[in-house]
Symmetry: D2
Subunit: 141 residues, 4 copies
């Protein structure tokens, strides 16, 4: 199974008055990590995917916050594909603190495969079977 | 059951290059709506709660995205308490477009009751029973 | 001279670990206030302007921070046009705390009039003289 | 003169519906770059500075936007100290696109040296002369 590891440094602007990273920042980190995953998995940038007429807007998001991240923390986001059909793709994420490997947050994002122009669902098996099969391979052992 | 309705106008900075509001913005709107809910429910601002030694950091977040919001859309966030114990509180949210009432996003946030100084869980039944019972009343018919 | 007043409530997500609103939030408030100004001044939403082929990306931004805003503060952003040519428009902003009228931040944004498709400068005197003259009127006593 | 170079990858969440990076993101990048500069200049993290009782809230911000950054662009923020007194410090920034070195944005931030507890100005020559002189050295040829 393919897992990518994306390095993130927590920014001051991302803290809140509780003195920790605000919870709405984690989905932004997931997205930065997903960008890297997709690039490695299919050798295409997300911008190139969009140019091919494919977008992947979010259908669902979940986050579990286990321990707070703090300003200047070095973090790693582990990303993998956890479910895949011709209509949808789900990614799973674990955010770890680099110094001790502690899990700070776990999350998932579920996306539809959507046409860039019409915003309507597409069947990837028909539209881009090669992309779908490359993504499928990311889930294999 | 108490339900508050908070008006939001979608900001340009909240859009992304897909031409819609970015998905990480909804938890920020939930929070603005929760601020109003708590103020109405217990007649205290969240800042006053913090001054009383109580914080409610997130333990879990879920969002389901049903239809995109767009720049300048007038929106309403409906907020209610969906679960409550002396250790935890869960809120539920529905984001609607004002023009037609369409549901754009549904979400939940689960929070622990935590001590401001120690960041450790507190038992609200012992620490602030009056606050807990006022919150309980928000769930009654 | 036309001045609009836009109400803002400071959000928790907008605070930082200094316990105040993060400085990068003010340009976002300026933009929300500018949206209202333009709507009142020319009876068009910014989305309608974009549909007419006109965009106004930023060329310059300045902010002077006088006193911090805090979570849940009720604020007013005063907006006016401070300079206008067929090629450029500058807005000025004052952010005030509602309770005492104290000035918290002053800022300016300078924008080019730009074609939506080509991203190239346009001469508003030729392209949309009626819009330009309506904007001009906002600067008169 | 000491100049640091901080790598940034533009995030999808940072784009807006114009298809470019939103202008309010640049001050956040400046801050991430400033964090690295300070760490290199005085061998202290900003968190350690705060623990020593020193904060540097913004007094002024300026940005000039020369050319838009886009999603997935690899960028470099060049940072230097442009002015320094016992009461204030100013940083200058240039954001460049890595592929061709093009300047996308230039900015400055002016900060007061402030006491963490009282939020009042401090005289660094009296309070932390060694820090001040290390910062001074960053401006020398």
């Amino acid at each position: 199974m393919m897992v990518t590891r994306t390095g993130i440094v927590a920014r001051y602007a991302e803290t809140d008055q509780m003195g920790v990273i605000h919870h709405a920042v984690y989905p932004v980190w997931f997205e930065a990590a997903r960008t890297e995953f997709v690039k490695q998995a299919v050798q295409l940038s997300y911008s190139q995917l969009e140019a091919m007429g494919v977008m992947t807007p979010l259908a669902e998001l979940t986050c579990r916050y286990l321990s707070p991240a703090r300003y200047e923390d070095g973090l790693t986001v582990e990303t993998r594909v956890t479910a895949l059909t011709p209509a949808r793709i789900e990614f799973g994420y674990v955010v770890r603190r680099e110094t001790d490997g502690a899990e700070l947050c776990r999350g998932t994002t579920l996306h539809g495969w959507v046409d860039t122009k019409t915003f309507r669902p597409i069947n990837m098996k028909k539209r881009h079977p090669e992309l779908l099969s490359r993504m499928m391979k990311c889930m294999e052992e």
